[in-house]
Symmetry: C2
Subunit: 255 residues, 2 copies
């Protein structure tokens, strides 16, 4: 197993992507160290990792906060995502074998079945996963990691916008993309990817107020099930928190 700071960074990442830790939420070292029952140093290392991934930002002498990407950031992220997926599409058109196309079609089919059976949660996951599978078929780990990071950041964006529609569930887009690529119509496929993402960005309204839904402790509790072996700490916290538990703004105010 890797280091504990990596494990904690993974949990924080999950919590952010699950929108349990919302953009602007303060990630205090002491608070997190008490939650995970580790020292502040491990937390710092975890925060460095999360910040390097673009999901948090560290301000000197102020602390770490869940990232609040701007509209400009959103456009840049989607532009980059478009670029990567278009490039992968071009590569796959040349290099992908029958087994690969079959896997893609099978994935879409599974999602179709999920939609048909009313399992919207699964359909959502499969819809988002399509892009990941798509890139994985390029058999390029470097590109996979780059793409995955971009996807994580788009997922974070979805905490800041009013999502009118589930863009990932556009089954038709995915199915048509496969069809176009197999027929060698690269230009049309790339335009579709571009339109796909442009449509999403156009729907963005980023002035939505983000307010604290959960405290970090509440947000992170579900991820600690396996490692929770110190109720003593929790009681200690309850008794030791004194008066500062009252009103706690967990949202980083815009400057």
């Amino acid at each position: 197993m890797s280091s504990r700071s990596q494990a904690i960074a993974d949990i924080l990442t999950r919590a952010i992507l699950d929108r349990r830790l919302v953009p602007g939420c303060k990630l205090g070292e002491r608070e997190l160290s008490e939650i995970f029952n580790v020292s502040r140093i491990v937390i710092r290392q975890a925060l460095i990792r999360v910040a390097d991934d673009g999901l948090a930002q560290i301000e000197r002498n102020r602390g770490a906060f869940v990232a609040r990407p701007s509209m400009q950031d959103a456009m840049e992220i989607y532009d980059a995502l478009t670029l990567v997926e278009q490039g992968v599409a071009a590569q796959l058109m040349d290099r992908l074998g029958p087994a690969g196309w079959a896997e893609l079609r099978q994935h879409v089919e599974r999602q179709r079945q999920a939609v048909a059976s009313g399992n919207h949660a699964l359909a959502d996951v499969l819809g988002a996963e399509f892009h990941t599978v798509f890139v994985r078929l390029s058999r390029n780990k470097v590109m996979q990691e780059m793409h995955a990071q971009l996807v994580r950041r788009t997922t974070l964006l979805r905490a800041l916008i009013t999502a009118d529609f589930d863009y990932c569930n556009l089954l038709d887009d995915h199915a048509r993309l496969i069809e176009l690529l197999e027929k060698g119509r690269l230009k049309q496929a790339m335009d579709m990817i571009d339109a796909h993402h442009r449509q999403v960005v156009r729907g963005y309204i980023m002035d939505r107020q983000v307010f604290p839904e959960l405290t970090p402790r509440e947000a992170l509790e579900p991820y600690l099930l396996n490692a929770g072996q110190t109720p003593e700490i929790q009681t200690k916290n309850k008794t030791g928190e004194k008066g500062r538990t009252g009103v706690h703004t967990h949202v980083h105010a815009a400057k």
Copy 2:
């Protein structure tokens, strides 16, 4: 000013890219902490940053080493770089204004003058910088950072290969790329980028033995000029290193 660990990570990165710290070189925490005169924890945080960037790898309970990318890694990195630069080329063809084209041409011209005046060092830097300028003109910070990371990794690769030719100095390629893009010949431009990179990878011979050219202390000394204020530590090290200074393999043996 950012944190100390970030500054040290930057220095380590520079030293790796300058090939003063060669692939496989062990980056011991204690040794680095003595070199930079900081605590081991700061070094750990710096190493995490460098490793996240792909220039080092951390093995649990064994320590950090300068990354030794495989031939497979090299191909994937260049594939990704090709993909990104092709995508940027396509974007620039649509969106770049006259000022942008002028900047590109001016950059090539400056490199041409450097070559003409025999300043090969400057020509090298400008040649490598061309790709960076190219991507910067996309005005997409996300993509810029992604591209910069890929470039750093290719730079690391050059420590592992026998560089028969200076691929970045192919002035003609750069000039022709601009010309093609301005004329709207996207397909040809993209093929040129692909050929450019493919040519480089084909020239790679990665079974070159990497042997320790410098100890970390020697490698990092030039970067410490501004912050060097503790000769006391150095003398203490000299007297305190005892017998383990003898033969020290700085190269991580291949498994």
